[in-house]
Structure formats: structure tokens, C-alpha cells
């Protein structure tokens, strides 16, 4: 903490600074009105914040970026598909979808936590591959079991062949119901007050959770697993709980996300969600081992501003909107790559620093002896 130079801060916040510069350049070029831009950003904060907040707990427990948040997203989608078929609409439909998704998310989180305990030190790549594995099972359930095994009555949801779910499921009956529950419009900017209240509550829960015994254990485990074990903390159980919580929150977050969108792309909604949420968090200045609530909101604002202005700016500059599309996808992946490289570099640097300090101490001891 002490004696940090400007260079250290620049290095630490290089990604957010880069994004601020990109947004400042692209926003005027895009020609989008400030009102439109603010409206879009506010909508996207409501849509994405809950999902991204679900990433904080595994980071706290030292498990890095939870690529398997996709598992929770799938559970949320299953909840919404079933609720749509049962014709439960509006806010009650959302609540019921959450209740249905929670046990599925918890089971998937438990499974993921157990697997990650077997792959300590390689959590991120393992969780990334787990998300592909569970995606296969999700497809099996949604494509073949929904209909013959899990009853699906409505032809608007079921594929014409008689089993499996259509590519798109309409959520018109609950579209933006949470966002519009408490309507507020300030100077033409629509504020989704109820969604913000839910997000605020999750922030409070996270702040409170950090102060609990379990939260403290998670932070200890995140700092040093061996020391935590020696201190009597059940490291594996703590890590599993962090995965369960993250997956459950991701499931609820996905329901909030999809109610805003108004439809489910059954086989693809979840596939990129982890990647974009992680990219947004990293853009906000988080790292693999450190993230805060502030990083979440800064990340959404910067990442999504870039998402909104880049295609338009690309169209203005090159005459082809696809350039902007490519740019934003490229940047998402690039940010994650940079964060991973920086994490590994810092880890190695710290390791060699510790080694050098140890060698120095031994030399001094030998000289004294």
C-alpha cells in the first residue's frame, strides 16, 4: 500500500484508463445524443449489475474469475422456460422462476465447487471447461427431455416435432416488469428503480457477508489456503460455499437480465454471458484476485459505453458497422487476456521477490553465524 508511485497506479488502472480514452474518442464520433447514451447505460446497469456482482464472492475466496457462472445462467433459463409454460406471468413469474432456479443452481455450484477443489490453482480454466460440459447436459435436458420427461404443454414453447424447446422463448408476459414496477423518468432518462433496489440489496448483502465469520474465512482462504487450513478453517467447504453462492446469484441475475430483454435465446443466451460479465468486471479495474463493488459499476459503465458507441463510431469512420462489432468483441477477449497475463506476471514477480528476500535473509543469517 505504501510508497506506490504514479507508475504503479497507472499499471494497476491501465485497463479502465484505456477504456475511458476509447469512450471519450468514440462517443463524439458516434454522434449519439447524450440522452440516448445515458438511457442505454442506465438500462444496461440494471440488466447486468446483478450478474456481475455474482462474480465477487469466488474472487474473494481466491478462486479467480468464475467462468462457470454460466451454470447459474442455465438454471435461470430453465426456471423461466418452465414458468412460461405454466403461464405464471409478471413479477410472480419472476419470483417463481428464481425459486425453481435456486436448487438447480445450488446443485450445479456444489458440483463445480467439488471439481474445482480437485483442481486447485487451475480454477479458471477448469470452470471454463465445466461450463462447456454442463452446456452439453443443458442441451440434452432442454432439447430431448423437455416434452417427453419434463411436461411442456404449449406449442409456442415446444418444437413442432413434439419435444425440445424452440430456439426463442418469448417472455413478453414478464418483459421489463421489474424495471417498470416503480416508474421514474428524470429528464427523459428511464430509471428502473425496482431493479436498482434489488441490486442495491445484493450490494448490502455482499458488504455484510464480508464481515461475517464465513466471509472472513473466505478472505483468509483467498489469501493463503495453507495458513487458513492451519488456522482451522475448512478450506474446501468454504470454497464450495463460495461457488454455490456465486452460481445461485448468477441464476437470479440471469432472470433479471432476461426479463429486461423480453425473450430467451434458449441455446445461446448463456453461452457468452460469462465472458462479457468477466470482461466488464476487468474493465472496471478488477483483477483475478481483487474486485470490489465499485469495479462492477465502473466496469458496466465503461464496457457498455464502448459497446454502444463502438459500432456507430466504426460506421462513421469506415462506413461499415461490422468493424465496430469486431472491435468490441476483440476488446472483450483482449481485456480478459491482459488481466490473465498481468495476474500471472504479478504472481511470478511476487514469488521471485519472496525468494530473493528469503535468500537475503539466509545470507545475513550465515554472515551473522
Amino acid at each position: 500500500m505504501k510508497n506506490k508511485s504514479i507508475g504503479d497506479y497507472l499499471r494497476r488502472f491501465s485497463v479502465p484508463i484505456m477504456f475511458v480514452i476509447i469512450c471519450l474518442i468514440c462517443a463524439p464520433i458516434s454522434g449519439l445524443s447524450p440522452n440516448y447514451l445515458i438511457n442505454e447505460i442506465v438500462t444496461r446497469i440494471g440488466r447486468n449489475a446483478f450478474l456481475i456482482l455474482s462474480l465477487l464472492i469466488p474472487i474473494m475466496a481466491g478462486m479467480g474469475l468464475n467462468f462457470s457462472m454460466t451454470l447459474g445462467a442455465m438454471a435461470g433459463e430453465i426456471g423461466l422456460i418452465l414458468v412460461s409454460d405454466w403461464q405464471i406471468v409478471g413479477i410472480p413469474g419472476m419470483i417463481l422462476a428464481m425459486i425453481v432456479s435456486i436448487p438447480i443452481s445450488a446443485l450445479l455450484g456444489l458440483f463445480c465447487g467439488k471439481v474445482l477443489n480437485m483442481a486447485k490453482g487451475r480454477e479458471m480454466i477448469t470452470s471454463y471447461i465445466i461450463s462447456f460440459f454442463i452446456n452439453g447436459i443443458y442441451q440434452l435436458v432442454v432439447l430431448y427431455l423437455m416434452g417427453p420427461v419434463i411436461p411442456i404443454a404449449h406449442s409456442t414453447i415446444k418444437l413442432p416435432r413434439g419435444y425440445g424447446i424452440r430456439n426463442t422463448v418469448s417472455l413478453l408476459s414478464m418483459r421489463q416488469r421489474l424495471d417498470n414496477l416503480i416508474p421514474l423518468n428524470i429528464m427523459g432518462v428511464k430509471i428502473p428503480v425496482a431493479t436498482f433496489i434489488v441490486i442495491f440489496l445484493l450490494c448490502l448483502v455482499i458488504i455484510w457477508f464480508r464481515k461475517t465469520k464465513l466471509g472472513q474465512d473466505m478472505r483468509a482462504v483467498g489469501q493463503d489456503m495453507e495458513v487458513s487450513k492451519d488456522a482451522g478453517i475448512d478450506v474446501e467447504r468454504t470454497r464450495i460455499i463460495s461457488m454455490i453462492l456465486s452460481t445461485v446469484f448468477a441464476g437470479i441475475g440471469m432472470i433479471i437480465y432476461l426479463q429486461n430483454m423480453g425473450n430467451i435465446a434458449t441455446y445461446s443466451s448463456h453461452s457468452q454471458i460469462g465472458m462479457f460479465c468477466i470482461a466488464a468486471l476487468l474493465v472496471g479495474g478488477a483483477s483475478v484476485d481483487k474486485a470490489s463493488i465499485g469495479n462492477v459499476f465502473l466496469g458496466i459503465i465503461l464496457f457498455h459505453t464502448m459497446f454502444i458507441v463502438a459500432p456507430k463510431a466504426g460506421t462513421v469512420i469506415t462506413g461499415d458497422s461490422m468493424i465496430g462489432e469486431y472491435f468490441r468483441v476483440f476488446v472483450s477477449y483482449a481485456v480478459i487476456t491482459i488481466a490473465l497475463i498481468m495476474y500471472e506476471t504479478n504472481k511470478r514477480k511476487n514469488k521471485s521477490k519472496a525468494g530473493m528476500q528469503l535468500a537475503l535473509a539466509q545470507e545475513q543469517e550465515e554472515a551473522n553465524g
Binding site: 405454466w86 403461464q87 405464471i88 406471468v89 409478471g90 413479477i91 410472480p92 413469474g93 419470483i95 417463481l96 425459486i99 425453481v100 442441451q139 432439447l143 404449449h154 406449442s155 409456442t156 418444437l159 413442432p160 416435432r161 425440445g164 424452440r166 430456439n167 408476459s173 441455446y267 445461446s268 453461452s271
Partner: protein, 159 residues
């Protein structure tokens, strides 16, 4: 089982019961229905009823349908209790009469047809309330190709 474990088990069971109760409540209060309003002569009721010139249907303070004789309107609703206000104009040029109507919708029906002239004539529920059976269009019944992979067909390097 010691006391603290017993207490924890009781708390867990209580929490589960509360969640199940909330889920049951959501099933009841969140059940969506599409209500169709017909301003036409009811079929197979055996008696003749008067079909008004125009009926305006107001649900939750919003006008959802203005039906002339022979027309159909619709509204989406949530829950089993359905309240509407009917502004009935019997003959052209007459002032409308305002009526408040409350109905209990059957849980099992997604789409419900209410025949307003039969309802206004005080006939049985079986005469004014029937199920709307949704028939998917030919377009909807066309086979749909499921796309489960974004990279589908992009990894084929032959030819």
C-alpha cells in the same frame, strides 16, 4: 442429536416451508390468462339474447376493447379474480350504461372467451364462459432447425 443441531434443522425446515409457501402463492396470484370478449350472439344456449350496438370494456382503468356487434376483443390478466367495467350502448345514439362486473376465472384455462351479451342477460356461466383453444398456424408448425452451436458449419474446412 444435540440442541443446536436440532434448532438448525428446525430453521432449515421452516425456511424451506416458507419458500414452498411463496412458490404456491406465486402459482395462484401469478397465473396469466388471456380473456377474449365477444359482443355477438351466443351459440347453443337455446335462448335469444339482445346483442348491444356497442360495448366498451375497461380493465384496471384502461379501455381494452370497443366492440361493435359481432366483434371480439381481448386483454391479458393475472390471477383468478377478473374485474371489468362495461360501458354498454344498447342502440346507436343512446347514452352508454356503466356496469361493474367481477368474475372468477378457471385456473386451468389459458384463454377464456366471455360472451358479453350472454353475461349481461344473466345466463349461466356455461353459456357465457368457454375455453379458447389456441390453434398454431401452419407457419408455427413448420419444422424449426435448432441452433445449439454458434460455430455451427464454420469449422467445416472441406471444400
Amino acid at each position: 442429536m444435540d440442541k443446536s443441531k436440532k434448532r438448525r434443522l428446525i430453521y432449515r425446515i421452516a425456511a424451506l416451508a416458507v419458500v414452498l409457501l411463496i412458490a404456491a402463492a406465486m402459482f395462484v396470484i401469478g397465473r396469466g390468462h388471456t380473456v377474449y370478449f365477444d359482443n355477438k350472439m351466443p351459440e347453443n344456449v337455446g335462448t335469444e339474447v339482445n346483442v348491444p350496438y356497442k360495448i366498451e370494456v375497461v380493465v384496471a382503468g384502461k379501455s381494452v376493447a370497443k366492440l361493435k356487434s359481432g366483434e371480439r376483443g381481448m386483454a391479458d390478466t393475472m390471477g383468478q379474480n377478473f374485474n371489468m367495467q362495461l360501458l354498454v350502448t344498447k342502440e346507436k345514439g343512446e347514452d352508454p350504461t356503466r356496469l361493474q362486473v367481477g368474475l372468477t376465472l378457471p385456473y386451468s384455462m389459458d384463454g377464456i372467451i366471455i360472451n358479453l351479451p350472454a353475461l349481461l342477460s344473466g345466463l349461466d356461466e356455461s353459456a357465457y364462459l368457454s375455453e379458447f383453444v389456441y390453434v398454431p398456424s401452419a407457419e408455427e408448425m413448420k419444422d424449426e432447425e435448432v441452433i445449439t452451436d454458434d460455430t455451427d458449419n464454420q469449422m467445416n474446412f472441406e471444400g
